[in-house]
């Protein structure tokens, strides 16, 4: 009989989340909220990694961590209301608790970005995973390790821009050049109007040698932005993007998030365009 094995071996069950309180909820747009939750002890992560968030009675879903790993007290997730779990999350308030397990995924290849200039390109909620890395590289400890930093961010309308408070801070930051564009302006908007790939070709003038570009946004935006970057002379290995997939376990076991032999939850979600080209187009 080995029924007692379960008691004798005190191991960690990888599917059990840690319940943490929500510290703050920020309404970003009509349907996007940023949740600041307490960082569980021994939760160490890299920019670009994600976590599974559990809402009791509703379920679990994966979200990229948008706060920088240097924030010791909390984790932030920016979440669009789109399904069962996110709808339940949007009903929660500070003081309520959610389950967190992770971190999962490979994260951005920070060591291979060292001593390069970085061109961040975000679309819509796609700025969330980039924000973790942007704030990481902008931090006083890390800033010296990177050269020029540009962020081009676009959304459908001015009301769809997320992290407006952060955009204001970044605009004033002397170590970062910020371009913000919207597909469709309105009377309140005095900035650039145009699709991200077009604006990219028009306003961002860089010699791609020594540059790396990190792109995240809706699939169609990623597709045309990569095309524009290639036209600008970027190498396929210097274009980095992060993918989305339906996930459950987060550790490459449940078998649903694979693209060919690669699991997005374990081998991804960050891939270079070079890697993506070698994978079947099933994402």
């Amino acid at each position: 009989m080995n029924g007692e094995v379960g008691i004798r071996i005190k191991e960690k069950n990888i599917y059990v989340p840690t319940m943490v309180p929500i510290l703050e909820v920020i309404q970003e747009t009509r349907d996007i909220k940023t949740f600041r939750v307490q960082r569980p002890s021994s939760f160490f992560y890299h920019p670009g990694q994600f976590a599974e968030i559990f809402v009791p009675g509703k379920g679990e879903a994966p979200f990229s961590i948008t706060s920088s790993p240097q924030e010791e007290r909390f984790l932030e997730f920016s979440i669009k209301r789109i399904g069962v779990v996110t709808d339940a999350l949007h009903r929660l308030n500070p003081g309520d608790s959610v389950g967190v397990r992770g971190p999962y995924g490979n994260g951005f290849p920070v060591s291979s970005l060292l001593h390069s200039s970085l061109l961040f390109i975000g679309g819509g909620i796609g700025l969330a995973p980039l924000r973790s890395l942007i704030n990481y590289v902008l931090s006083p400890q890390e800033r010296i390790n990177f050269r020029e930093i540009i962020l081009l961010y676009g959304a459908r309308t001015p009301q769809d821009l997320v992290f407006q408070w952060e955009l204001k801070r970044w605009a004033e930051h002397r170590d970062l050049t910020l371009w913000v564009t919207v597909d469709q302006g309105d009377s309140s908007w005095s900035g650039i109007v145009g699709l991200v790939p077009e604006v990219l070709k028009k306003v961002v003038e860089v010699e791609p040698i020594g540059w790396k570009s990190i792109v995240c946004g809706p699939p169609i935006m990623i597709k045309f932005t990569i095309k524009a970057l290639l036209e600008m002379g970027f190498q396929v290995k210097d274009i980095i993007t992060t993918l989305e997939m339906r996930m459950k376990c987060g550790v490459g076991k449940c078998g649903r998030c694979n693209i060919g032999p690669y699991y997005v939850c374990k081998d991804g979600p960050v891939f270079s365009y070079q890697e993506l080209q070698e994978m079947p187009e099933e994402y």
């Binding site: 080995n2 029924g3 069950n13 059990v16 319940m19 009675g57 399904g83 550790v251 693209i259 032999p261």
Partner: protein, 325 residues
């Protein structure tokens, strides 16, 4: 010579004595009902003993204003021996163990149940019409160093039990053991040849082959094959209960449209073609590319039970012709 011999009675009596600790798969039971006790506990597939079709991972309860999470730990007694066919054992040792028992992130439910169980492999005297194990690196006499191996031989059982996990006091007969080995080697020579070398790589290169459409058209995506497949291990984590409830670890199937459906309603595998391709590619390309063994053991169960006679062997042979063209 590592093999020894025991009598049918010895094995029968041992299993009778250890009855509560021995579980047998239905397929092994069907094949050897005349040699083994008939009232052993049976399981439909070997995997379900460790990878439960339905298992609670933890309980969540709202107490006052706080949610309390309690991990579910099984305390019930569990069998120590599993009697099964070679292909079923290969599926456990080279596929589901590989997926669930990874060192860094073991699936605790699976690992806890699996650790204490010794596999008793009973070799196949006869090969069924649906079997194709020799194509994928298995054989009717497939053995593994950590498992016990039995094979009925002229009124006795040929036994390989290096670690003496079964206290059976077998007798030695080197000449007879040599005859068994020769029989195994000669029989294996008569079986169909394995799939071509580098088939996983070659098949991967045919991801966009239009042939997939033809291969997939008559599959109804019912998922019966994935549930009875000894290697299929895909699962779901879902919740049951609002203010108090359980998070469940349940079997899932790549044949179902919702398996990969995003919240945004985008689906990377929207039709039967992509789902059938995923099932075949995972077993014959992706899994071996990652873990060196095929994700199919050639047991033929899916060919036997498919309601529309969709045949994985025909599909794979069709793809072999296509890649070798």
């Amino acid at each position: 010579m590592k093999g020894k011999f025991v009598t049918h009675e010895q094995v029968f009596t041992w299993m009778e004595r250890e009855r509560g600790l021995v579980v047998i798969t239905e397929r092994a039971q069907k094949k050897y009902h005349h040699l083994l006790p008939s009232h052993l506990i049976t399981v439909k597939t070997a995997k379900e003993l460790f990878f439960s079709p339905w298992e609670a991972v933890y309980r969540y309860t709202l107490q006052g204003k706080t949610w309390v999470i309690e991990e579910k730990v099984e305390h019930s007694s569990f069998p120590s021996f599993l009697v099964l066919l070679p292909c079923e054992a290969k599926a456990i040792l080279e596929v589901t163990d590989v997926n669930f028992m990874t060192e860094d992130t073991p699936d605790l439910g699976y690992a806890r149940r699996r650790r204490g169980v010794t596999l008793i492999i009973v070799g196949c005297e006869r090969i069924e019409q649906t079997c194709f194990c020799s194509l994928v690196g298995c054989s009717p006499f497939w053995r593994h160093r950590e498992s016990v191996f039995l094979f009925p031989w002229k009124g006795h059982f040929y036994l390989e039990d290096g670690e003496e996990k079964l206290s059976l006091s077998p007798f030695e007969d080197p000449q007879k053991a040599q005859a068994v080995e020769t029989f195994f080697a000669e029989t294996i020579c008569t079986l169909p040849l394995p799939l071509p070398a580098n088939f996983p790589e070659k098949l991967y290169a045919h991801f966009d082959d239009p042939l997939w459409q033809k291969m997939a058209w008559h599959c109804v995506n019912c998922g019966a094959c994935t549930y009875l497949c000894p290697t299929c291990y895909c699962f779901d984590l879902s919740v049951d209960g609002k203010l108090r409830g359980l998070t469940l670890h349940t079997w899932d199937s790549c044949m179902f449209p919702k398996f990969t459906l995003h919240a945004s309603s985008h689906n990377p595998r929207p039709t039967g073609k992509e789902r059938v391709r995923q099932r075949v590619m995972h077993k014959f390309s992706y899994f071996p590319l990652r873990n060196k063994y095929y994700g199919c053991v050639g047991c033929g169960v899916c060919r036997e039970i498919c309601p529309v006679n969709w045949d994985i062997k025909e599909v794979v042979e069709g793809m072999v012709r296509q890649v070798e063209r």
